[in-house]
């Protein structure tokens, strides 16, 4: 692949991932965190 295409592809990917993080971080963080503690200990085969 030519140099210009690598650069374009990387810039495209970089922009996409930064947008993913920036837009959705605040929105989804609380949602998943609320599930984590219970699910994780049960997945490890440990119960309280």
């Amino acid at each position: 692949m030519r140099r210009g295409r690598w650069l374009t592809l990387r810039l495209l990917l970089l922009t996409t991932f930064v947008v993913f993080v920036a837009v959705f971080a605040a929105d989804q963080y609380g949602l998943v965190r609320s599930f984590v503690r219970f699910l994780c200990t049960s997945c490890l085969g440990l119960t309280e």
């Binding site: 990387r10 990917l13 970089l14 993913f20 959705f24 998943v32 699910l39 997945c43 440990l46 309280e48």
Partner: protein, 257 residues
């Protein structure tokens, strides 16, 4: 380079395990297996997070964004230089003091299949099924978590964890970096970024004598010189660079090339 690699690997190993002291709970996906069961490090394990999102039937924008940035920057460098489970495999190779018991063929697509099955199962079962058997979770979360938190009791999946860990440890003694080469779902994701990552291992064919010393020491089992740069199995460990007497193999970082 060898000493530097061991240093970063042990640093990652320490960082992962001080999770039990409630440190490093940043809510950022790590570029390696870091079981968020130890204890409740939200988002830490990318594979665990992807399963959660699959179970919730949502697209993992945040986790995929962070993992994508890690992959775009360094590809599978994280596997060779940071992953604690990779460190365990390297330690096993150090202990056994001989080559692989078998010369297995590369099966580059297998880890992608494992990744797809894991996500599909989480989607169908609405549960993080892989977490219940994950050997990295066994070693870095289930076993230490049980002994740090004495109020917890052993359940069925604790023993399942021990069994999967025993199986993969046995495999490590037979084939170096067995997990990384054939099964690691996170390695599949970072491997997909190897062709496009900014950091690469490159062969200068004007200097290369085609002695293939670099391939003989490759823990990823790469079989052709031309595959080194973009192969999804290369963990950028740098052993090929150390073995080359002609300085034909080098690590390079460029946004343009």
């Amino acid at each position: 380079m060898r000493k530097l690699r061991w240093a970063t690997q042990f640093l990652a190993l320490v960082l992962v395990n001080i999770g039990f002291l409630q440190v490093l709970k940043l809510g950022i996906p790590c570029p390696f297996f870091y079981c968020y069961g130890c204890p409740a490090a939200a988002f830490a394990c990318p594979i665990g997070t992807f399963q959660h999102y699959a179970a919730l039937q949502q697209f993992p924008f945040y986790a995929l964004g962070v993992v994508g940035l890690f992959g775009l920057a360094l590809g599978r460098f994280w596997c060779g230089w940071g992953c604690p489970f990779g460190t365990v495999q390297d330690l096993v190779m150090l202990v056994r003091r001989r080559g692989d018991a078998f010369r297995l063929r590369r099966v580059p697509w297998l880890k992608f299949l494992v990744l797809a099955v894991i996500i599909l199962l989480a989607w169908i079962a609405v549960d993080t099924l892989f977490c219940k058997v994950c050997p990295a979770g066994s070693l870095f979360a289930a076993i230490p978590h049980r002994f740090v938190s004495s109020e917890l009791r052993f359940g069925t999946f604790f023993y399942v964890h021990l069994a999967t860990l025993a199986v993969v440890l046995a495999a490590f003694f037979l084939v170096g970096r067995f997990w990384c080469r054939y099964l690691c779902p996170l390695g599949a994701i970072f491997g997909a970024f190897n062709p496009v990552s900014i950091l690469k291992v490159k062969v200068d064919f004007s200097k290369c004598q085609r002695c293939e010393d670099c391939l003989k020491v490759c823990p990823a089992g790469i079989e052709k010189l031309e595959e080194i740069e973009n192969c999804t199995d290369c963990t950028r460990c740098g052993k090929c660079i150390e073995s080359c007497d002609n300085d034909a193999v080098r690590i390079s970082a460029s946004f343009r090339d």
